[in-house]
């Protein structure tokens, strides 16, 4: 009787524990979660062993998705022997998915990304091809592109990715109709921004739209405040692993100014539950519920596509982030993406690598793609497109503005979360969310971030 009871009991105990263990593992073994779905998405194209076809993962959403798909379709049609299969993902999902897939040996041939810290991790793990010699042999390909676009593709003096698509500085957008309604002028300094906040709030309009749940949207504010107050040196000292870099006076001042703006209700109500992937933050601007928004230059195309007549009738204003009174930073500096980057997986077959390089040389940024990007309001990273930009019709002023910001910037800093390695970027975004939530002070932010410097 006794032994039987025990064994039954322990069996039930096991059974009761089973759902927990199973579910916990499903989530944490994690390779089973994200990589499972990722590989099934890839399987729709071709598995690593499927021969000459290269697989290509990139971002979904307007306006880029259509351009990317059209480029691949043109290349496939012209080169039936070396096809490229494209699979698209949402921005925030993609960042987790691509890393998991690479770690699990399920990487696509063409790995789309932002270069910088993320690319460095792939390089350290020997997951991507060294393209330096290929660029030497194909000097024509290299000569066409902005020289500045190669910075984030270069790790320890070797090029590991093909720069592509558009240059994307972060821009301060504003709704001209709302400014006219309230009877105010666009801000020329940080002090004027702070002075505008109560005026818009009194009119029942949110001063700034913000997709705060995506967190990198919040980060852009700090990138500009730090630069305008103290120049690019503070973040450079973080990258260099300098001790207590985040405690520099300029850093604390930037964090404090930001919290002042939050406390003054500078951001739209509910900003911390708005995601940028849904474009709800941009909808707030073009529907006139918010007056201003700090966002990437790609947002112009989204507002043009989704905002009805808003862009066409000239209601969208844009400018570089204004200076902060007494700040040391150069007001021509900008931050954002100096380009997008495609690396080639070192795990791909030779046939796939050949197809991928053919795509780099003949497919990417062909004349039709350049035209497509300009049509979406983007500035391709191609030298000498000025005349094409000037004749882009209604988009010409914005395109020339972006071209000007990108080419005249004394410093074009890469986004912090792309420049830092993954684990540090996550801690940074986490603390930025808390800073915007006012649940930590600038000093706590600095000490939390100092703790992971050089790790």
């Amino acid at each position: 009787m006794d032994p039987r009871t025990t064994s039954r009991r322990s069996f039930i105990g096991l059974a009761a524990g089973l759902p927990v263990a199973g579910a916990a593992l499903a989530a944490c073994g994690g390779s089973s979660g994200p990589s499972g779905s990722a590989s099934s998405a890839g399987a729709g194209g071709s598995a690593p062993a499927a021969g000459a076809g290269a697989t290509y993962w990139t971002l979904s959403g307007p306006p880029g998705e259509a351009v990317r798909k059209a480029t691949v379709a043109r290349f496939d049609k012209a080169n039936p022997d070396s096809s490229v299969k494209i699979t698209v993902f949402q921005n925030d999902d993609y960042k987790a998915k691509i890393k998991t897939a690479i770690g699990a040996g399920q990487a696509p041939t063409l790995i789309w990304g932002w270069g910088g810290g993320g690319l460095r991790e792939y390089v350290k793990a020997n997951q991507v091809e060294d393209l330096t010699s290929w660029f030497d042999q194909n000097a024509d390909v290299k000569k066409r592109l902005f020289p500045s676009s190669f910075g984030a593709a270069t790790i320890d003096n070797k090029i590991y990715a093909m720069p592509c698509e558009t240059v994307q500085p972060i821009v301060l957008y504003y709704n001209k109709k709302v400014f006219d309604k309230v009877g105010v002028q666009p801000p020329q300094s940080w002090g004027e921004i702070m002075a505008l906040v109560p005026k818009f709030n009194a009119a029942g309009i949110a001063p700034f739209s913000l997709g705060g749940q995506s967190r990198w949207t919040n980060m852009m504010w700090l990138e500009f405040l730090f630069d305008r107050i103290a120049g690019p040196e503070i973040f450079q000292s973080v990258l260099d692993g300098q001790k207590d870099a985040w405690s520099a006076p300029g850093s604390i001042q930037g964090l404090t100014e930001l919290q002042k703006l939050v406390k003054a209700n500078g951001f739209v109500k509910g900003f911390s539950s708005i995601t940028a992937d849904s474009n709800a933050d941009q909808a707030l601007l073009y529907t006139g519920r918010a007056a201003m928004m700090l966002h990437g230059s790609w947002s112009y195309g989204i507002q043009k596509a989704q905002g009805g007549k808003f862009v066409a009738e000239g209601s969208l204003g844009y400018m570089n982030f204004p200076p902060v009174e007494g700040g040391k930073g150069d007001p021509s500096d900008t931050v954002g993406n100096p380009g997008q980057y495609i690396a080639i997986s070192s795990k791909a077959t030779d046939g796939q690598k050949t197809a991928a390089k053919a795509f780099f040389a003949k497919g990417l940024l062909d004349d039709a793609e350049i035209k497509d990007w300009i049509g979406t309001g983007g500035v391709p990273i191609i030298n000498g497109t000025d005349s094409q930009l000037a004749s882009a019709g209604a988009d010409a002023p914005f395109l020339q503005f972006v071209y000007g910001v990108a080419s005249k910037a004394k410093v074009f800093a890469q986004s912090w979360d792309q420049a830092l390695p993954g684990s540090a970027a996550e801690t940074l975004l986490d603390n930025i969310a808390k800073l915007f939530q006012l649940s930590i002070t600038p000093q706590q932010f600095a000490s939390n971030m100092n703790a992971i410097i050089g790790q």
Partner: protein, 295 residues
């Protein structure tokens, strides 16, 4: 007699094998892998290297862990408190054999057919402070920063979880209630007991084991809520709804720190096992007590 019994036992033992094989392959072996990984350093890309207790020190010393545990238990307790009374009441209601009740039972069941992600996206859209239900219908009391304030966001998570799972537990209770012999209610009626008295003196005590079953499912299940919270709040605002399961995912797949993420996974498994054991003790200690009439 003896030979019959042993033949029966033999066949029973054989039947356990498939389940055991699955359990070992998909639970025990990965679990051991996670335990090993928790003593290693791995960023998900490069080589896995042994790191001793580094990950454990980092996780146990991180103020995020007690916070995640607190959020997990808060959501667990609140969702139990909301779901249990609601499920029992709805269960009692749909246990009746009237036809309109059968129809309502089918309607109540609908949320269970929807995926958690779909439910989360729907609630996120409905509760949007700028484009949601409240601003759309000009209902000021609905215009709150539902997912942007810590306590409110926890409330929304509990509500959405309950909305999804109350139908299932109602079904469990409906089954339990229908098993209670009619004669007990008839006897109570003869003794002059009203509806309410019958509910508290017959229905509830008779449902003891159903309550334990349903509570075990709720409590243990709430440890692994992930999809719904992830889509609804992504653990935010800041970390107000970052439960253990989310903490594990964020550490592992956003931060690429598989060692610490594995430590959190091990903690999650241990907490789950401990809770399952406690609940089993609560229900199973008095095995001789019968529920049936005449005991």
């Amino acid at each position: 007699m003896g030979t019959v019994t042993s033949a029966r036992n033999a066949s029973l033992a054989w039947l356990v094998l498939p389940a055991l094989a699955f359990f070992v392959a998909f639970a025990v072996i990965p679990l051991l892998g996670i335990v090993v990984l928790s003593f290693c350093k791995w960023n998900g890309l490069g080589d896995i290297s042994f790191a001793g207790l580094d990950s454990w020190r980092a996780v146990l010393g991180n103020p995020g862990l007690p916070h995640a545990l607190w959020v997990t238990f808060l959501i667990m307790a609140l969702s139990w408190l909301v779901q249990t009374p609601a499920s029992i009441l709805i269960g009692v209601f749909i246990a009746g054999h009237q036809r309109y009740r059968a129809l309502l039972a089918v309607i109540y069941f609908v949320p269970l057919l929807l995926s958690s992600a779909a439910i989360a996206i729907t609630y996120k859209a409905l509760l949007d402070p700028n484009f949601g239900l409240g601003p759309g219908l000009h209902l000021d009391f609905l215009v709150q920063d539902w997912l942007g304030q810590g306590p409110l966001a926890v409330g929304v998570v509990v509500f959405a979880v309950s909305w999804q799972y109350v139908p299932f537990h109602s079904l469990v209770y409906q089954g339990g209630i229908r098993q209670i012999p009619k004669s007990m209610y008839e006897a109570a009626e003869l003794d002059g007991a009203g509806r309410v008295r019958q509910f508290f003196s017959i229905t509830l005590p008779q449902l003891k084991y159903t309550v334990i079953t349903s509570s075990t499912l709720m409590v243990v299940g709430s440890l692994t809520f992930f999809d719904l919270i992830w889509v609804l709040t992504a653990g935010g605002p800041a970390d107000a709804t970052r439960s253990l399961a989310l903490d594990m995912y964020i550490t592992g797949f956003r931060g690429n720190q598989m060692g610490p993420a594995s430590c959190i996974a091990v903690i999650l498994v241990l907490v789950g096992l401990a809770i399952a054991q406690v609940l089993r003790r609560l229900g199973g200690s008095d095995a001789s007590a019968s529920q049936m009439e005449g005991a």
